[in-house]
């Protein structure tokens, strides 16, 4: 019962091979086996969003995704996306708007925000608020986070006008 399963995936641009227990969550594999502490563990039920990572270009809950499911897939965490420069403008906006305090929710917030900006570039403030309902913040009260995201959306919209 429960033999380890060999898997291979791309994590932050690097090929990774491992043999893992099927029950191991992707977020635990990333944090414990690969030392990528960017994604965090909060509720492990899919509600808080702290574990949010990107698989094959879309955000998923790392706690509701098995590492074995990532076999053959491309996984990005906040570390990799930062190194690529994919989050720079958003991160700058977060800093300007004071959208972080303890930082626990931040990696999840950044990944969720990045997908919003890509998928719904016309989002209104109300739509931004709804979108980030999947990421809990216990510190900021959210307004500064929404401000930061709106800054990016508005700058983008101004550019394309």
């Amino acid at each position: 019962m429960n033999p380890k399963i060999p898997i291979e995936m791309i994590v932050n641009g690097n090929r990774v091979q491992a043999e893992i227990e099927p029950r191991r969550h992707l977020v635990d594999f990333l944090r414990e086996d690969l030392g990528l502490k960017g994604p965090h563990l909060g509720c492990e039920q899919g509600a808080c969003g702290a574990c949010t990572v990107r698989v094959n270009g879309q955000i998923v809950r790392g706690c509701l995704y098995l590492a074995v499911q990532a076999n053959g897939k491309v996984v990005d965490t906040v570390e990799g996306l930062t190194a690529q420069g994919a989050l720079t403008e958003l991160q700058d906006a977060f800093m300007r708007r004071n959208a972080m305090q303890c930082g626990f929710c931040s990696s999840g917030m950044l990944l969720a925000a990045a997908e919003l900006i890509e998928q719904q570039p016309q989002a209104t403030r109300a739509e931004v608020r709804e979108w980030i309902s999947g990421n809990y913040c216990r510190c900021t009260g959210y307004h500064s986070i929404v401000d930061a995201i709106m800054d990016i959306l508005e700058a983008q919209r101004e550019q394309t006008e």
């Binding site: 019962m1 429960n2 033999p3 399963i5 227990e21 099927p22 029950r23 969550h25 635990d28 509720c43 492990e44 039920q45 899919g46 969003g49 949010t52 879309q58 955000i59 998923v60 809950r61 706690c63 509701l64 995704y65 098995l66 074995v68 499911q69 076999n71 969720a112 997908e115 919003l116 608020r129 709804e130 979108w131 309902s133 999947g134 990421n135």
Partner: protein, 285 residues
């Protein structure tokens, strides 16, 4: 919050899945998006020996027109439905409902079929599938059969699917230009399970509605259609008086169930609130 140990297999075909289900019975669980299943396993509410990952089954995928129907495969994700031009055109209430399901990261993996076969009373898709007159196509070792959505949801977390069957997808009659709809969901926070919800669909000619479906969710153990309210409204010119009568009828006929958010009486009140909002919106279209 870590699951108990289990084995995992990624199935390559429907016959393989059916054979595995037959071999392992209750010891195995099918996994599609896993957004409900993995949360359940994390809390150790369930401890299957084997997870059968069905996400490779191409027969369960796809959104396409087949004859007079819109086919939505069981493995189609909530996000795919939200973005699909074909769904926007031929079953628009699904596009309206999709953003209410949980949160984006969950919608990227969670599936149409997974929600339908789980039969959560607070889920959006079961009520919507009834409102659009969907037919579920299921397959087992005995072969394939079709079950009307209105016959599919039997009890709390219980559908008409037999233990050896898998949902392949649904056939949805194509909406025509006369279709009007309203999807209403009340929740304490965006993405929470619904406190009460309504999937309302009708055909509208002038002020007259026909072929009405008013299907409520999160008020009972299964989605429930307000049959008498539907008959009252069918083939009548809709005005304030008729709306009030329909609201009263829906409140009287639906046996609501209390839950952690509201009493049965409060749920009955909300049934009326949602129906009134839906009828007014559909009238204004």
């Amino acid at each position: 919050m870590k699951a108990a140990a289990f084995d995992y297999i990624k199935a390559q075909s429907v016959p393989e899945v059916l054979a595995l289900m037959s071999e392992h019975g209750d010891d195995a669980r099918l996994m599609a998006g896993g957004q409900t299943l993995l949360a359940t396993l994390n809390m150790r509410l369930s401890e299957p020996q084997l997870l059968i990952d069905i996400t490779e089954l191409t027969e369960l995928k796809g959104i396409e027109i087949i004859g007079e129907h819109l086919w939505v495969g069981a493995l189609v994700t909530h996000t795919e439905i939200e973005n699909a031009a074909l769904v926007k055109k031929y079953a628009p209430i699904l596009c309206a409902a999709a953003p209410h399901i949980a949160h984006r990261a969950i919608r990227n993996l969670g599936t149409w079929g997974g929600s339908l076969v789980y039969g959560d009373p607070a889920a959006e898709w079961p009520a919507c599938s009834i409102a659009v007159n969907a037919t579920m196509v299921v397959r087992g070792l005995q072969g394939e059969r079709r079950i009307l959505a209105s016959d599919f949801f039997v009890d709390l977390y219980t559908t008409a699917l037999a233990p050896d069957e898998i949902l392949m997808g649904t056939e949805i009659p194509l909406a025509n230009a006369k279709q009007v709809f309203s999807f209403q969901e009340l929740a304490r926070r965006h993405g929470d399970y619904a406190v009460a919800g309504l999937a309302a669909v009708a055909k509208k000619t002038g002020q007259v509605f026909s072929d009405c479906h008013f299907v409520f969710f999160s008020v009972a153990t299964t989605p429930v259609a307000a049959v008498q309210a539907q008959s009252l409204v069918n083939d009548q010119a809709v005005n304030a008086e008729l709306i009030a009568a329909a609201v009263a009828a829906a409140r009287a006929e639906i046996e609501t169930m209390e839950d952690i958010t509201n009493s049965a009486a409060a749920k009955s009140h909300l049934v009326g609130v949602l129906l009134e909002r839906a009828l007014k919106k559909m009238l204004a279209e």
